[in-house]
């Protein structure tokens, strides 16, 4: 573990810390909107990790001069991660929109967007079902 190694890997570790903050929000929080925000944070930190792999020290953005006379001395960063992440950002917003629409429907159906409340309602519904139809179905479902 040389000093150079630690400095060279510190960016990755920071991104992983961010990622884990997002994951924690997704797992530990009961509110659905908050879960989506956590998912977004997680996603963005994955993007940062990818982009940081394509970075070259002293490099510049992968855009040639307009006349396409490329100076062989210029170092360009790797454009491939950029392309992949552009696609991922757009797909990410699509999934976010779908999740939020689902939340609106859930709120309409249950009157709440808290996981605890919804699980409670579901539990009571199952209890009710068991009480009414339990015998016909051959005991508790």
């Amino acid at each position: 573990m040389s000093w150079e190694f630690i400095v060279g890997h510190l960016p990755y570790w920071l991104f992983i810390t961010l990622m884990m903050t997002g994951l924690y929000i997704v797992v530990a929080k009961g509110n659905y909107v908050k879960k989506i925000v956590g998912l977004n944070i997680f996603q963005t930190s994955v993007f940062m990790l990818y982009i940081s792999i394509g970075k070259i020290t002293g490099g510049t953005a992968p855009i040639f001069p307009l006349d396409l006379e490329v100076d062989p001395e210029t170092v360009y960063s790797n454009p491939l991660p950029h392309v992949l992440i552009l696609t991922a950002i757009v797909v990410g917003i699509a999934t976010t929109a779908l999740g939020l629409a689902l939340i609106v429907r859930i709120r309409e159906e249950y009157g709440s967007i808290e996981e605890d409340v919804i699980l409670d309602i579901e539990y009571r519904l199952t209890q009710h079902e068991n009480a009414v139809h339990g015998d016909a179905m051959g005991g508790r479902a």
């Binding site: 530990a28 929080k29 963005t44 394509g54 917003i93 699509a94 976010t96």
Partner: protein, 175 residues
Amino acid sequence: MVATAVAIARMRSLFATVMLAGVFSLLSALLFVNLDAVDVAFTEAAVGAGISTVLMLGTLALTSRVERPSSRSPVIPLFVVIATGAMLIYGTLDMPNFGSPDAPAQLHVAPDYFYGTEKDIKLPNVVTAILASYRGFDTLGETAVVFTAGIGVLLLISGLRTRRRRDEDEEEDET
């Protein structure tokens, strides 16, 4: 950025959470500029800080604004998160240093793309050339995903007003 993320985790007001998420997106866009990914940076600024904030505010308007305190203990999630993070950090130990020019990721396809863009496609922006030409099928798939998601959102939301009216009618019938 870590501070923003932790603040989001602790904040109870959903409105402030959404605003902080926008701030987080904008900061990450700045970071992308620093990492030479200008195309990604302005997509992130437009989509992450713009559209998703608007969508979330719309959802908040249709639902509630305050988060209820959770009854579950945070110990198990914290343990899971720390274990996953430790494994990921263990995974980075084999990676080349940040910004090193002789990393494997820099040596294989990237020079080909640069050469091809300069000789065949003759576009100054390499990212555009790869996105539309070399990886055109990826972009086609992406469009399909966005289309599907759009249909899904429309199907989920569309009946909102008629359903509300029907519910009100039923309530009037009952009373």
